[in-house]
């Protein structure tokens, strides 16, 4: 059973549906104490980084304990950003600090004065992935495959980055270290490529 963590950041219907389509069963734990029986944990999320404040110390400890025990964790969208140290979107809201770095606004003015007209933010739509190293999560996904993004903030590219996307600047599209993985795009909305990535993750459960 996969624990789908609901902290009030948008709707979980699509993620649940996609997991069911690949044969995985899910439930939404009502309290952090229920996480103990999860074979895998997903932290989804659309919307504002500030909503991750609902993941209280109790939830953070429970998630950390499970990760330390080797249970696979997958962050999606804001769920990826939360695994970093924090975000410009909500200064003071601390991430889980699994990955180094802080998330930045894609719409921030370019430091390059010769840069072309500012890009539209949020970054909405299908964009291509640069698969920069091998990972379990991105196994079998071709370089240049397109996936669906919708976000205004993004995580920097780090050593653990498993796929890079570029929108004005390069950012982390997928990241993986040990049993912790995350994607900035929405695999549940990315057609066959997205289902493939979810299967790759669920395969390790």
């Amino acid at each position: 059973m996969i624990a789908l963590v609901d902290y009030g950041a948008g709707n979980l219907t699509s993620v649940r549906k996609a997991l069911n389509a690949i044969g995985a069963s899910t439930w939404t734990p009502a309290v952090a104490g229920e996480l103990g029986r999860a074979h895998g944990i997903i932290v989804p999320g659309v919307g504002h980084f500030d909503s991750t404040r609902a993941l209280t110390a109790e939830w953070r400890t429970a998630i950390r304990t499970m990760v330390d025990d080797g249970v696979p964790l997958l962050g999606i969208c804001v769920g990826l950003q939360w695994l970093f140290e924090g975000s410009e979107e909500a200064p003071g809201a601390e991430g889980l600090c699994v990955f180094r770095g802080s998330c930045f606004n894609l719409g921030a003015p370019s430091p390059k004065p010769q840069a072309p007209s500012p890009l539209k933010v949020p970054h909405v739509g299908w964009n291509s992935l640069v698969i920069n190293r091998s990972s379990r999560l991105m196994g079998g996904v071709n370089n240049g495959s397109q996936v669906y993004f919708t976000h205004s903030y993004a995580a920097p590219v780090i050593d653990d980055t498993a796929a890079i996307c570029e929108y004005g600047v390069p950012f982390t599209a997928a990241v993986e270290r040990g049993n912790v993985s995350a994607v900035q795009f929405h695999p549940e909305k990315s057609s066959e490529t997205g289902l493939r990535i979810l299967r790759n993750w669920a395969h390790a459960l």
Partner: protein, 257 residues
């Protein structure tokens, strides 16, 4: 590179697609889920369900249609038509919609944009603007007049100014339909689309007038559109979404293939 999106619109009434459909190989051509499945195979980037009946009584029927379409495709799904209240939006999202499209309700109650953006995030809120060219004032200044209630009533708003306000209130995308061009197959209104697209910093979806593949190339070029929506060109045309994307790619338009 971010692709230009091709969006199929399903106009649904009482659970059936009402604009004519003549795809071969569909047992029930009016079935929204069957059509969505076909589009998905062909490489459509997004699907919009526009429920043209949408009354309070039909909310349950609408939820059924949304769930049936959402069960077939793993693509972004937008629902519009008769989303008047926060409850309407919540029901559509719970049934499987990723985004709701507000039109008349956003004009009469702009706070609804902000309420929904706070609850679900801006990415879940599309403001649909139906507008047409008018010449206003003594200088015959060109104005894009906004209409509410499916083009029935004048809203006394300019499309560019309303798009800016909707953005400030939390809309994540603008769906801009040209009333002049809708159903004509004469091409998108590129001038209006560019005027709105250049005025806001959120994606603009162009709608109304798609008749040929060239029209899509025009609206992504001169029209500065981020996405293009069409219904009948895909329903009637034997040429598929895939052929359209091949056509656009040959002309240097970035598309998902």
């Amino acid at each position: 590179m971010l692709s230009k999106r091709i969006i199929a619109c399903l106009d649904v009434r009482d659970g059936k697609v009402v604009k004519g459909v003549n795809f071969e190989g569909l047992r029930d051509a009016g079935d929204p889920a069957a059509l969505a499945r076909r589009y998905n195979v062909e490489g459509i980037d997004e699907v919009v369900i526009l429920d043209v009946t949408a009354t309070i009584e039909s909310r349950q029927a609408r939820a059924h249609t949304i769930a049936a379409v959402a069960a077939e495709i793993f693509l972004p799904l937008t629902v519009g038509g008769g989303i008047r209240t926060e409850e309407d939006a919540a029901a559509a999202i719970e049934a499987g919609a990723d985004k709701v499209s507000l039109n008349t309700a956003a004009l009469s109650n702009p706070d609804l944009i902000t309420t929904l953006a706070k609850r679900y995030g801006s990415q879940a809120v599309i403001v649909a603007i139906d507008a047409k060219h008018v010449e206003a004032g003594l200088q015959s200044r060109l104005r894009y007049e906004v209409f509410a209630r499916s083009g029935q009533s004048i809203a006394n708003r300019d499309a560019v100014e309303w798009a800016r306000e909707a953005t400030d209130r939390g809309a994540g995308e603008i769906l801009l339909t040209s009333i002049d061009r809708d159903g004509t197959k004469a091409g998108f209104d590129c001038a209006m689309t560019a005027a709105v697209s250049d005025a806001v910093n959120i994606p603009v979806i162009a709608s109304g007038g798609a008749g040929t593949f060239e029209h899509f190339a025009e609206v992504f070029g001169a029209g500065h559109a981020d996405a293009a929506l069409a219904a009948s060109i895909f329903h009637f045309n034997e040429r598929s979404v895939r052929e359209l994307k091949d056509f656009l790619a040959e002309r240097g338009v970035p598309v998902r293939k």
